[in-house]
Amino acid sequence: MTRFGKIVLGAAFGLALGAQAQAQSKGELHIYNWTDYTSPELMKKFSEETGIKVTVDTYDSNETLLAKLKSGAAGYDIAVASHDFVQILSREGLIQKVHAAKFPDYGNLKKEWQSPAWDPGNEYSIPYDWGTTSFGYDTAVYTKPVDSLKTFYDPPAELKGKIGMFGSPTEVMSLVLVYLGKPQCNSNPADLKEAAAVLEKQKPSVKLYNSDGIQDRMASGETVAHQVWSGDFRRARAQRASLKYLFAKEGGIAWMDNIVVPAHAPNLENAKIFMQFMLKPENSGMHSTFAGYPTAVTGAEKFTDPAVATAPEYLPPKGWKYTFAPSCDEKAIRAYDRIWTKLRQ
């Protein structure tokens, strides 16, 4: 067995050495981001300009990011988190302050996106991109003009039984509350009762509650209306031209993904360089072209592919009301879950 012992030991040792050498070499940046959300061309440009080698790892949800950072996964210099998770991550001490307001190009951020509610003073984060949540539908199936979310919560015969809804209670609830004109993170029993009634009434018309594969369902006609993210819907519309995204008169939900730096990031300085790189309009525009979502940087539009930037879902019309659904307290989440459980029975 000694020989086997040696082989095992040697292999483990060689592996450890190799990994160590890799970790010690300078000029690296480890990005942890959603899958297919990091433009390869942009990363190439970043490496060419700065000489920093970029590796991208991917995850599927904010929850995965939270779980990994919380269980102590180190090694990532940059992560991308939705606005509600920026609060959670900073509260838990899982991301560190970068004082983005001191970056020379901080002024490139549009005024309306500076110092957002979830990160006052941009101490932890800068915006990556943002988008909206509403309903999209097929104008070939339902030909009458639509301006209200009512069409989907209390659908006409053409849409009955062919409506898709998100599969997560918080996202379903936040849009219903917008429709009813009620505040977010609501734990007021009267408001909740009303919201639950709307969803219960809509339920027989709903084909399924699922946030995955919306593009497919809309493009194939399996559903003719769906609660949807703006960027997802643009991809579906590329395959079925009769689809239309609704900027309802009641308003809608907005979200923003943000660049953050995990606590204990091994390459803090490189992470800051990356954040500043993303504040340049030409880079931000390149990202926007890739992801299909608008960014928060002034002048990025000029560098965004016009086919993307002029898509009807890309930016909401001026003056359209949108609400950033914040991370709710436990009381509201519990109430949402109760409504959801009852709805899905």
Partner: protein, 267 residues
């Protein structure tokens, strides 16, 4: 009335029940593979035969990078797990472990019994507590642990099947322990070792939960990447990657089965 002994093969309706179970289990896989040849962008709508998604998979640098990580980790984990499993198989089948056999067996089989998510999280917490940062090495260690029981299975079966007569004969002829192992046991075990190695390779290659949690920076594996791809919408590209993974896994499992099924050369 002729007393026919009970035979569950002749259970009324057994055949149709079995058929429907098999269809239920395997139809999704068949559909997945069929739709990977779909020309249409939409997964659920057939648009004619095409292999373009396989081309896209090949051209996708992320897929190639993560596949490389997966294969490297799988090879390393296989080598380590197989080595440990050979030792464990010999100890459990040939060694004298008074009172320890049961304990050792359960310890080795633990990764099969404990929910994978528990193993994943505890491993990650443990690694970060001791500050282990070996890049892909972290994954290799985690994978090795759960690959060992898979590698062990065919080896123990082989050791039990082949009996000890050849080894005892060698000992009668004054062969040392090492000589017995080198000349007799190892060659006879070899098909089982190969088969165990293939099983652990497949297990490591296909693992998702542990890889997702334990992976350090720069070591996203292919299944983790594919899972993330689904967020952006299931395109036939996902089907194509899955079909390739499925094909490789099937091939290896079939080879492993063939190897263990082979009659021992010495008898």
């Amino acid at each position: 009335m002729s007393a026919q002994p009970f035979n569950w093969r002749h259970l009324p309706g057994g055949r149709s029940l079995m058929t429907s179970l098999l269809v239920f289990l395997y139809a999704p896989l068949a559909i997945l593979v069929i739709y990977s040849f779909n020309a249409s962008r939409i997964v659920t709508v057939w648009g004619g035969f095409s292999t373009r998604w396989f081309g896209m998979v090949w051209d996708n640098p992320d897929i190639r990078r993560t596949a490389y990580t997966s294969i490297t980790v799988a090879i390393m984990a296989t080598i380590l797990a197989t080595a440990f499993a050979v030792a464990a198989a010999l100890a459990l089948e040939r060694g004298r472990l008074p009172g320890l056999r049961g304990l050792s067996e359960s310890l080795i089989a633990l990764p099969l019994v404990v929910p994978e998510i528990v193993v994943a999280i505890t491993t990650l917490v443990f690694f970060s507590a001791i500050g282990l940062k070996l890049g892909a090495g972290n994954l290799v260690i985690a994978h090795t642990v759960f690959c060992i029981p898979f590698a062990l299975l065919p080896m123990r079966a082989r050791l039990r099947d082949m009996g000890q007569s050849a080894e005892n004969a060698a000992r009668d002829l004054y062969a040392s322990d090492w000589q017995v192992f080198r000349r007799i046991t190892l060659p006879l075990m070899l098909p089982a070792i190969a088969s165990g190695a293939m099983l652990s390779f497949v297990t490591s290659l296909d693992d998702f939960i542990i890889s997702m949690m334990v992976a350090d920076a720069g070591t996203t594996t292919l299944p983790v990447y594919v899972y993330g791809m689904m967020r952006v919408g299931v395109t036939p590209e996902v089907n194509a990657v899955s079909a390739i993974l499925l094909g490789v896994s099937l091939l290896l499992v079939v080879m492993a089965l063939l190897l263990t099924g082979r009659k021992p050369a010495a008898t």
